[in-house]
Subunit: 208 residues, 2 copies
């Protein structure tokens, strides 16, 4: 990209933008996110699947993963299922399923599973309550650990411990590196723009 | 990618992996992240710049952004500067600066600014204490809002309110959409693998 003029906005500008313009732009300025389907089941065994773009790495040993959740909007059932059953899955979205994954964000009637509504297939590990998505290349099983209420806007930061991990054979090298592009993993901009990627470079540990 | 065999691992396996293998793999399985440089200044005005891959969208109206920080490891000064001065910047990393951005993670001696060490240029908005990175295409100024201690592993989730936003003219469409690929914004896998992207599709709001 060539150098070009810069625009600068402040809080007063944000407040005056039309709601949809503000939501689209402010979801996108914070950069690429991962796209994951969160799989849960309620205590009666009904499956739920919801799209999240806010998964972050919290630690590797032991492994913890966090995500931001808006309890008062869509998705409605994910958090209550996590609290009641303690288990959930994170299923990485790739190019072959991104349209079905996006479709899980539609407001289906009570009693309709997003799995059957979108044609994705629930799968199970032995002794793990929540369903994973069979079509995902990387499937993670988490045990709920803690949540924090963000006072600023009543969202939640939910942290779980990674206890199960399924991934294709022969995609991890001897140093533990995994090329997400080779799995066709998508990156997401905001809530709706899906991107394919290609590796620029893996850089060595930086030294002064 | 063709269907292929799947491997499944559990907590016992994770604990037995060599440390570096575990860190590499478990940083990468949670998918693409954004790469941002966090710019701060200490009360004496010395600048600090540190790379983070854990930025998440917390809200759009008013706009809040969060990130995960490990206070007991690198980067050492970012959190204390945020607490003492209340202001920080998030500067999006693009293909033209990803090597310099990665280099900020080296452990420089006290008194050396990562700006001068890596050749990036500090810039300032009027009445905003923390420096931004002039070379970034998207520069965000945040006011510290709150932090939460993750009990599981003593990391922190830091939330700030977006109060300043600079971006190139003519990159936002009338609906507020911004194509991150057109800005050469990179996505990051784990802590070291940088990716370029291209837009697959922007999908409409999902309906049942």
């Amino acid at each position: 990209m060539k150098a070009q003029n810069t625009q600068t906005f402040n809080s007063d500008d944000f407040a005056q933008w039309p709601g949809r313009y503000r939501a689209n732009l402010l979801n996108k300025v914070s950069g690429f996110k991962s796209a994951h389907l969160v799989g849960t089941a309620n205590p009666q065994g009904q499956h739920n699947l919801a799209m999240f773009n806010s998964i972050v790495h919290v630690g590797a040993n032991p492994p913890y993963i966090g995500f931001v959740l808006r309890p008062r909007t869509v998705p409605r059932h994910t958090f209550s299922n996590i609290l009641e059953t303690k288990y959930y899955t994170l299923n990485q979205v790739h190019q072959g399923i991104f349209k079905q994954a996006h479709q899980t964000s539609a407001k289906y009637d009570q009693g309709i599973s997003e799995f059957s509504a979108t044609g994705l297939t629930p799968g199970f590990w032995e002794d793990f309550y929540a369903p994973f998505v069979k079509e995902s290349h990387i499937k993670m099983g988490l045990e709920f650990e803690e949540y924090h209420e963000i006072k600023a806007n009543d969202t939640l930061f939910v942290v779980g411990k990674l206890v199960m991990l399924s991934l294709p054979s022969d995609v991890v090298n001897e140093d533990g590196h995994l090329d997400l592009a080779s799995l066709n993993t998508v990156a997401i901009g905001g809530l709706d723009s899906y991107y394919q990627t290609s590796l620029l470079e893996t850089l060595p540990y930086a030294q002064p």
